[in-house]
């Protein structure tokens, strides 16, 4: 459980209750998340997480823009996606080996609610209804991201109209 002041907990509760990813969760589940959450501010250019490092937090972006990056030797960092307010950053906390697959860096100043991933996994295990609901939400977002990535792979702009 994260130690926070009552005021901060209320602020976190408000952020979670209004966030696109969590706003339709029953209040009892919002409360569960609040118990294991904190709020973090990242300045422009700051790193949220790094490839290969333990994926120990789940990030709900409250404001700002985050670049998901892959380092390509000889080409430097390539931005493969961006996420913004009311979106989530990173899924590696959900499945073994719980290590980040990409880097995430704040493109602008970013405010995020982050949830302890280990505690979240335990909550999913202990309360399958909560776990199923959370996974449904995660799957929806992952599906949209995967479909978008596949369409981008097709490079549709390469044969556009003239």
């Amino acid at each position: 459980m994260t130690t926070t002041t009552p005021e901060t907990r209320e602020k976190i509760r408000d952020y979670i209750a209004r966030h696109c990813f969590t706003r339709d969760l029953p209040e009892r589940y919002v409360n569960l998340l609040v118990e294991h959450a904190d709020v973090r501010a990242y300045q422009e250019g700051a790193t949220l997480f790094t490839e290969g490092m333990p994926a120990d937090r789940f990030h709900l972006i409250v404001s700002g823009r985050v670049a998901i990056l892959m380092n390509v030797p000889g080409r430097g960092d390539q931005v493969v996606d961006t996420v913004e307010d009311c979106e989530t950053a990173g899924w590696s906390w959900l499945v073994p080996p719980y290590r980040w697959f990409f880097d995430a860096r704040a493109v602008t100043d970013v405010l995020a609610v982050t949830v302890d991933a280990k505690a979240l996994r335990e909550l999913c295990h202990d309360d399958p209804e909560f776990g199923y609901l959370l996974l449904q939400h995660v799957t929806q977002v992952m599906l949209e991201r995967m479909q978008a990535a596949r369409i981008r792979l097709a490079d549709v702009y390469g044969t556009g109209p003239t």
Partner: protein, 287 residues
Amino acid sequence: MTLLTSPPTTTARRTSPFDLREFRVARRRQDTRDTVTLALEPVDGAPLAFEAGQFTMLYAFGVGEVPISISGDPTRPGPLWHTIRDVGGVTHTLAHVRRGDVLGVRGPYGRGWDVSAGKGGDVVLVAGGIGLAPLRPALLQLLSERADYGRVVLLYGTRTPEDVLYVEELERWRGRFDLEVDVTVDYGPPQWHGKVGLVTSLIPRAGFDPAHTLALVCGPEAMMRYVASALLDRGVDPQRVRLSMERAMDCGVGLCGHCQLRELFVCVDGPVFGYDRLERLLWLREV
């Protein structure tokens, strides 16, 4: 190239849709690595009136003729503007013309966006790649009649930051308080501070009221399918979603059949169609 400066002789009076007018290249601007914009002045002095969304058949003398959407302002007489991507033999020639060269122009042809159908409501324009060029006249018309419309939103996706068209104009548009502009690219270098992702990802959070929106979409056909789906998911009426189609054409007037899309001819029935009319055809293979 000398063949461009020696066009065939044409008659002064034109009544046939095949009549060709001569236009001189007044300006050539390199927009991106493979895309240029040409300003063409009529040799006979009479400007070409057109509706937003229409196209002309542009003729590089001795090389060939291709349909190219008009990218200029339909509300202001002046040069004929075309934005051309260098993707084939004729477009390669057109993309490398020089100031003073003469091109042949037939048209304008086709049904345009009918922008005024959006009066009183919101209008969202969704462009992919060079699809921004046929939407530019619609946006310029909207801006010239700005008070007649609600919110106006331009969503634009392209491959990389280097492929973004009309950069200076986009920056001006973005600076307006009465226009929402959002741009995303498929791939971004680390210095790119904009969005990376598919253009469809811009639709859920764009500021328009789906129940009172006219949506104008232009880009690669695959992209338009997904954009149309995202607009419908948001609640836009299929009859209020309009797509500009692209097909090879020889005549531009419904005779050659090259642009046929089942029972439709893109050149005369389109190029702009309502999604309610196209939906069935867009999901058919090999049409």
